[in-house]
Symmetry: C2
Subunit: 211 residues, 2 copies
DNA sequence: TCTCGTGCTAACCACTCGGTCAATAGGTTG
DNA sequence: CAACCTATTGACCGAGTGGTTAGCACGAGA
């Protein structure tokens, strides 16, 4: 019988530890999660965790970086679409991402609010993502305005800022009032209507899906 | 020399404990704050805290309720104003409140995100405030729409929801990016422009105040 | 075969935690 | 004065914390 490659097995238990830590850190937080709990959840000895990760902080950082990975997606500029479609696509990506990663979004939000010292690093990464997204949005809005397809009284910068604020508002609405009528589709419809004055095809704008 | 009334002194130390706990809980959180720290900060013995408050949870709840007090302001319906002015007033109150109570807002947000079991009680109170505010906004918007002073394609409900989301967005923008250009005045200007198509008197909509 | 590094564990360590308790000082009441 | 009550304290407790250490199993290289 082929014995298991010990190196592979080590990687396996390391992974198991990180997965357990991810779960626990994510829904309990840093201080409220003990290494013994992680060990129990991962079905390893506590000492093994300290063999793989030097300190609790170390483990936490590893988990944090792992959770952060899916956030670095590139908003591939699909140039075959016009600006309007690209903007809506961007908004939709934001909304769907939040919906699909609600847990980690919640986790990072709590982290940013809470632990300043650990937040330093995280904060700058999130800020980078945030401003990148906003800049993209701003330039697209500027282009759309130039072409006249989205004429408003305010500048592209302020429109982007306002739009992003509204999106963040949807985010916290979604995080806190899970049963709210503000699902991504309705939110997108409302944004479309606000930006371009369209009423959407067959969907209503009052936050209620047509039965 | 008149001896201090012991009852008064007791109330004093109780107050001192609560103030210390308020500070510590607010910027460290529940689990990261120890009773010994509270005792040190309040310059009392730890045992005294447990004489005044049965458990740590008890103390926390007392602090929480105290912090929550300023949130229960009544949006006095100033009927001498027209709907438009009332709406703007409402929005302004929201924005100014967030600015002036940033710390406790941050604290409650973290609390809601984090500790579900303790959040139950808090959550319902916040939800109550939230829906009250939204209902008021909705009815005012409906009135304004009836009078034609605010004509949009969407219903009052969805407009209120969208507006509130935008406000929440401003909130988190304000909490996280302290140096952002989105101060309450600019935000209010943008909302006014969005709702009523006004450009404001002398203020610009691009988030920069006129020098 | 002996050693050596890797992966892993039980038992342990010093320390902090929330919480308790006996004791105290001082005021009030009998 | 004695009994009692309120406000307060230092010393203490068991439980649990992050982290360490001695040692074990085992495969690879000498």
């Amino acid at each position: 019988m082929a014995a298991v490659d010990p190196q592979e097995q080590a990687q396996g238990s390391r992974d198991e530890i990180m997965r357990a830590a991810m779960r626990l850190f994510a829904d309990r937080g840093f201080h409220e999660t003990s290494m013994s709990e992680v060990a129990r959840e991962a079905r390893v000895s506590k000492a093994l965790i300290f063999w793989h990760f030097k300190t609790k902080e170390d483990l936490f950082m590893a988990v944090l970086n792992r959770l952060l990975e899916p956030y670095f997606i590139d908003f591939g500029e699909e140039t075959e679409l016009d600006e309007r479609a690209q903007i809506l696509k961007l908004v939709e990506m934001y909304l769907l991402f939040v919906r699909d990663h609600a847990n980690s979004v919640r986790f990072f939000l709590a982290q940013l609010l809470h632990d300043e010292h650990r937040g330093e690093n995280l904060g700058s990464q999130v800020l980078q993502l945030y401003t990148g997204y906003r800049n993209l949005l701003t330039s697209l809005l500027a282009q759309a305005q130039q072409k006249g397809s989205c004429a408003h009284g305010y500048t592209a910068e302020s429109a982007a800022a306002f739009l992003l604020s509204a999106l963040n508002g949807f985010l916290i609405d979604f995080l806190f009032m899970r049963d709210s009528a503000l699902n991504p589709e309705n939110a997108l419809t409302m944004v479309r209507e606000w930006l371009f004055g369209e009423s959407g095809q067959g969907s209503r704008a009052d936050g209620q899906a047509v039965a």
